[in-house]
Amino acid sequence: MLLNRDRAVEVMDRHGLTGLVAREHVNIYYLTDYWDTQADGRWPYLVYGLLPRDTDQPAALVLPTVKLERLSVWPTWVPNIVALSDYSGREQHAAAAFDPTREEPAAARWAGWPVRDGATLTPLEQSWADRAAAHADRLAATPAWGLKRALVDAGMTQGRIGSDDPRVIEWLHEMGLPGVEPVDATNIFREIRMVKSDEEVAILEQAAQINEAAAIAAAGAAGEGATWPEIETVYHVEMSKRGGRNGHVISGLGGLPHGKVVPGEPLLIDALGEYRNYFGDFGRTVIVGEPDALLRRRADAMWAGFERACEIIRPGLKRSVLIAEVIEAVQKAGFDDFFYVSPHSLGLEHTDHPIPMGPTVHGEWNDYALQAGMVINVDMPFFEWGWGTMHLEDTVVVTETGFRPLTSMSDALIVNPA
């Protein structure tokens, strides 16, 4: 189970919620372990996840009936599966008139794919047939009607419901649930996800290793004359080879200053890639040819800053203190111009902790303290126009007494032969 349920309950209580409704695919996945192909096709409002605060009530997954088979690939722990008959291809189905405050619209029929007479089914095929049969007589007409059913099943017919898309809860007002009150839970989901479950840490560790290996391969391809698209392709192919999915690999936000790699000018490699929808994030400095004394000193100083982070990372450490201590350590080690460190929680989002939304402004409220189970990146970029770029970024999981690295914490500087 990806979900850190104890934390979810604690956070829901803090915000006075009777439950959570997930519409964003990352949050559906987090609540249910289920990742839908429609998530990949960017199709919103087809699948929902639901988590009641009351742990005796059933959590639910709402999904199209044709996707029931997919549960054999992405099994869910949630006990209440609500299947709906509406999917691409059934849009012609015309529902009879009904009163939405008292009745549900009729669903289209779906009893599963045909079965060949006399065939011996594989265990997977049998499981698909069983799933279709189990749901055939109780399909909801649409995703929203399926969600309403899931809420009723969980006793969530009134009260404050947190959702990453509050308009979904508004729709329920017109579907006979006038007592549900929407609460924007985009940051509430982040607050829960910020402290990882063991299963999440295991995936994040794999994501970190795959992403680091691909980034190191990309760094190795940054020889004299290499262009950024060539380096990107190496990264993307190496991610794919390891079962990951490429996000981005960047060297500054505009690309390479000379349009290609030149000897003697440091360049940063910052790689963000996915594995099972969780991010790996890793950064290093690359140089073609022997580094000069200045670059070596700066790289050593950044490493000293990271070592300082390693000394102090433990539950209770404030983000602001971590930033100040690392910058001080880097400067003390001889890198006076270094001024920016950005620690961030990592997970289903690159920045997996609450951040300002709407009129809210950064401030004391989001200067979080580290907790055991958080996965943290210490992000240390540096740019100097006319000189080059540098980066050092590793991933660690915070433990009760300190941390455990998820990346290899390899050398800060990667030297490619001239």
Partner: protein, 415 residues
């Protein structure tokens, strides 16, 4: 410019909108041509796009000042770029956001060496930063408010793919703004592609077809689906694309390892330039039975029927009926799904019911020139196997043009 501007104005007029506000990544990209690093990080509400209906006021992109140099490589056509500062450089005092606008932080001032001898690109990046420094606001919301004010949109009906920013703008003093749910309005606009979109989609279609062919090439007796996924993903990556999925059906392959003599469905969805390519094929290891050959032939005839039927004015329902009739006539009884869908930034890039809307409430899909259409022809029969056929076409003035090769033959892999 990705945006089909004339269509956007036509659709805005139809819905009585004074402008569009995009919060989701694909719609920001569509309106501005900009895709930033924060968008790769799945970070919501840190970029926005505004398209006013009034052609004489400026469209806008809201983005972090940190990413301005990206605009040199990925230029936007919108004239008004409004940035916000990085929090690390903001002051620490508390603000009463009900009465005052927080001060923006300083521009990220990276040090400079040899200022008179900077590479041309670095000069451009610095100039880009300097050009926008004056207008930098404290946060994305304050930058959005500025963008709306610059466009004279302090009041009016704004179509938006997320209603929350409208509420935030109301709270920040733009009380005359009303939000109109525009998830499907954006799709209605995007459904008919611009030339720039078509150029990207052609590449997406080609690369994705190469990807599925690489996946099929990896098919041999005993292979796992994971190995096929790797082959597909690596080919996509090699060509600058991004694998979304290659699947043998919703539940995967019916055996743990590829079987001999059983048709296997391949359905591949991949991205290039954030646009989708989508294709389907059927492959088999070993000699197919006559039934499998006949079924594939019937599906090929169905596809050909779709290709010959689709033209502006024809409805999806008409096409579906003709395709299903043709497949049945060819002897494939029980075949029952022939689904046309528009393809683009979403897999299904046309209006579809959301919320309280019921199936059919969006009316028939009516083909128009420059729509990109896939016709999905999946079939599963437990104990038999899976089959699929899917190609991409562009609707032309009087018919359609293939974007994939339309090689609909059954793919036979020697045992």
């Amino acid at each position: 410019m990705l945006l089909n501007k004339p269509r956007a104005y036509e659709v805005m007029d139809k819905h009585g909108l004074d402008g569009l506000l995009a919060s989701t990544q694909i719609n920001i990209y569509y309106l501005t041509d900009f895709w930033g690093a924060l968008m790769n990080m799945r970070r919501s509400f840190f970029n926005y796009a505004v398209l006013p209906r009034d052609e004489n006021v400026p469209a806008a992109l809201v983005m972090t000042a940190v990413e301005l140099s990206r605009l040199v490589e990925m230029p936007t056509w919108v004239p008004n770029v409004v940035t916000y500062s990085h929090p690390a450089l903001m002051g620490s005092r508390d603000y009463d956001t009900g009465t005052e606008e927080p001060d923006a932080g300083a521009v990220f001032a990276w040090p400079v060496r040899n200022e008179d001898n900077l590479p041309e690109k670095e000069q451009k990046w610095r100039a880009m930063g300097a050009a926008h420094a004056e207008k930098t606001r404290a946060t994305p919301s304050y930058a959005l408010r500025q963008a709306l004010r610059d466009a004279g949109l302090e009041k009016g009906r704004i179509g938006t793919d997320d209603p929350r920013p409208i509420g935030w703008m109301n709270a920040l003093g733009l009380e005359g703004l009303t939000g109109v749910e525009a998830t499907n309005i954006f799709r209605e606009i995007r459904m008919v592609k611009s030339e720039a979109e078509l150029a990207i989609i052609r590449e997406a279609a080609r690369i994705n077809e190469d990807g599925i062919n690489a996946g099929i090439k990896a098919l041999r007796k005993g292979v796992t689906w994971g190995e096929i996924e790797l082959a597909y993903g690596m080919e996509m990556a090699r060509q600058g694309g991004r694998a979304v999925y290659v699947t043998a059906g919703p539940g995967g392959m019916s055996h743990d390892q590829a079987p001999v003599g059983e048709p296997i469905m391949f359905d591949a969805l991949g991205e290039y330039g954030h646009y989708h390519g989508d294709i389907g094929r059927t492959a088999i290891i070993g000699e197919p039975t006559p039934e499998i050959v006949e079924r594939n032939k019937a599906m090929s005839v169905g596809w050909q029927t779709a290709f010959e039927t689709i033209k502006p004015g024809v409805t999806g329902r008409e096409m579906t009926q003709k395709v299903l009739s043709a497949i049945e006539r060819e002897g494939f009884r029980g075949f029952f799904i022939a689904t046309p869908h528009s393809v683009g930034l979403e897999h299904t890039d046309h209006p579809i019911p959301i919320g309280l809307e019921l199936p059919g409430s969006q009316g028939d899909l009516v083909f128009e020139e420059n729509m990109v259409i896939n016709v999905d022809l999946p079939y599963h029969e437990l104990g038999f196997g899976g089959m699929h056929l899917e190609d991409m076409i562009r609707v032309t003035k009087d018919g359609c043009e293939p974007l994939t090769t339309m090689k609909t033959d059954l793919i036979v892999v020697p045992e």
